[in-house]
């Protein structure tokens, strides 16, 4: 464990990722302190350029709201949604993948058909359907994103379980008389988790992207200061005041970059390979 941590810290890209993620986290935590007023409330004259008014360092949007405030509060939204949706997707995916990979036969076939069904349907389309049916509240959107993101996690978990199930240490535990539950949870799962944990970073990146795309299309919760929402608002004034769309986009980019770098860093730290430097 310590070895992995040290390997991670020695990787400059991974450190950059960690820095970016921590910065966004800090933004989110600082938001209620720095911008105590409602970020979606009227703050000043609309469409002021960044730097024009010292009160609004990043300018104002078409509705006269402070862009910087929305940026900071949006950080909370993105990270929270990303995290919870990832949790939902990972929990479902691991459960389904573990059962399918451990017990072959009928259980595997049924679960894999289910997974295939979810994967054949484009996940954004399913998300649209879920939002159409269940509404756009932020809780609904978050769970919906989790519900469309679990199939790759299930496949990965299943693949790991299939490989590990035939390993000799699992068979040895079986011969020692240990139950299926013990084998799944205490022998296979701890060995199957590392690649799944690494993949969770991909899931989180996708979750943040999905939410922002949904918000861009004005299909997410309008009462929540989402970055995607702001980009969508800036669309109408794109020709002149393009900064309204540009700034939140950069924020999304840096956040996802950070999450991806952290994921890659974790992968390199947990699966070291001699790369012949």
């Amino acid at each position: 464990m310590r070895r992995a941590l040290l390997a991670y810290l020695r990787n400059p890209a991974a450190l950059l990722g960690a820095v970016l993620v921590l910065a966004v986290l800090a933004m989110g935590l600082a938001a209620p302190l720095l911008f105590p007023n409602d970020p979606l409330g009227l703050a000043g004259r609309p469409l002021q350029w960044p730097g024009a008014n010292p009160r609004f360092p990043l300018g104002t949007d078409p509705s006269g709201r402070d862009i910087m405030a929305q940026l900071f509060h949006g950080a909370r939204v993105s990270l929270l949604i990303g995290f919870v949706a990832t949790l939902v997707a990972t929990a479902i995916g691991i459960a389904i993948g573990a059962l399918a990979g451990f017990y072959s036969g009928l259980v595997d076939t049924v679960l894999m058909r289910l997974t295939e069904a979810f994967q054949t349907l484009p996940n954004f389309l399913l998300l649209l359907v879920l939002v159409a049916v269940f509404g756009s509240q932020i809780e609904t959107v978050t769970i919906a994103i989790g519900l469309v993101s679990w199939p790759p996690v299930a496949r990965l978990t299943r693949a790991e379980f299939l490989t590990l199930r035939t390993r000799e240490f699992v068979q040895a535990a079986r011969v020692q008389g240990l139950s299926d539950l013990h084998l799944m949870l205490r022998e296979v799962l701890p060995n199957a988790l590392p690649p799944v944990i690494v993949y969770a970073s991909v899931v989180m990146a996708v979750a943040i992207l999905l939410e922002s795309a949904l918000a861009f299309l004005q299909l997410s919760d309008p009462n929540v200061p989402s970055w995607g929402n702001l980009i969508g608002l800036g669309r109408n004034v794109l020709r002149v005041e393009w900064y309204v769309s540009a700034i939140p986009g950069v924020a999304i980019l840096l956040t996802i970059l950070g999450v991806s770098l952290v994921g890659q860093g974790l992968n390199d730290a947990l699966n070291p390979r001699i790369t012949g430097r």
Binding site: E168, A173, V175
Partner: protein, 528 residues
Amino acid sequence: MSALSIEHLTVALPRGADRPYALTDVSLSIAPGEILCVVGESGSGKSVTATTIMRLMAPGVRVEAGRVMLGETDLASLPDEALRRLRGRRIAMVFQEPMTALNPLMAVGDQLAEMWRTHTDLSAEKIAERSLAALREVALPDPEGALRAYPHELSGGQRQRVMIAMALALEPELLICDEPTTALDVTTQAQILTLIRELQRRRGTAVLFITHDFGVVAEIADRVAVMQQGVVVEQGSVQQVLTAPSHAYTRRLLAAVPGLRAPPARKISPEAVLEIRNLGKTYRPAGIFRRRRAARALDGVSVTLRRGATLGIVGESGSGKSTLARCAVGLLAFDQGEIRIAGRPLPPARQAAAHLVQMVFQDPYASLNPRRKVGDQVAQGPIAAGTPRAKALAEAAELFALVGLEPSALARFPHEFSGGQRQRIGIARALAMKPEVLVADEPVSALDVSVQAQVLTLLRELQARLGLSILFITHDLRVAAQLCDEVAVMQNGLVVEAGPIGQVFEYPAHAYTKSLLAAVPGRGMLGV
């Protein structure tokens, strides 16, 4: 003038490896038309020697000093392009794993033809002729078919013949063989060794043959070099090194090689502790769309293990011996027949069966959970059966002492132990359940020969002290000869011959047993 002369070669490993140098001041020479065997255990540097000659080392491994003279040319200082032109034409190499050494997406004929296409200007028809002739020379059945076939359609032995044909296509001066028969069955190994020797004699090629098996050395070497930890400890003619070794390490290695003659039979009890009667197992392919091609792994097998004795099950791959082991231990369900332990049928419930029979596995690196302490893994069986945790751990500590490990090792993780130590832990784990029968599935096949000897000694001691009854699966007849009281020879899911080991090995009755024994390399020279 030697065909190959390695002079004071020092090769460094990348940073972070377990030692700084793979090879230290290694000097070897091979005369034209001579076979030099380089023999050593894992970590001796023998493979690095082979790959360094043609500069095919793993990334990060580099030559620090010395020369590699092929005739007049120093290969170590040759520029890349010049070296590339030499490869295949003046030196060729055959690798260890035939299953992965050929491009799976390219036909065998095309891969063979590449030799001529790269190094000569011959026309396509001429190349096709030569390819066919090359495959005939290595005695491939159906050479025309083989040319059109893809690698996965050939067996391991056949692929190795293709590799040899490719290597000798352009009649190189030197052929390097890096453990080419280690992954093959013993009968296939014998055929490949004969083939190499024949071809080499016919063309006068010098051969550098890497191996860990002294039997192979005795079988084909003209001269021998023994390596240990990157240093050549002894070099000389095969006669001299094998019968009158001068270095202590060589002597120790030779002493560790099990002889094929079994020690005098000891008295064993007539009581049967494990009876397998008419066992049958068929692997049926799953899915409604798969073609019906069932494989009979076990075709009515009957063997008896007596209490306090060791019964060896020997056979090659596909004989069904592993399937038999797994059925005996309850990991695999069987279709017909019965298994009785101490008179009672083997219970299907795992918890009940755990007290009756336990298993020691083959791969020391895969048989322990890398993320749990070894003490927990040994004690978890008894704990699941109801033993209080403290008592189970105390017993585990005793077992560790019994198998020659410190009791404090209970708290450590598998990666802190060597291969031989991990096998000891595996044995302790099996003994923790105090089973009636111990099934050992090739427990020493993945170990170096010196470590192998230690583990075999341990098994013998434990058997004497605890009265263990062992079902010992192996493909290595020498190992069987030294450890087993009785033996059953398996082929294609059937027992073809069984009886006391001394008798079966000295006076084999069945043709297959005879061919197995004849195929064991080095029978003559290594004191039978």
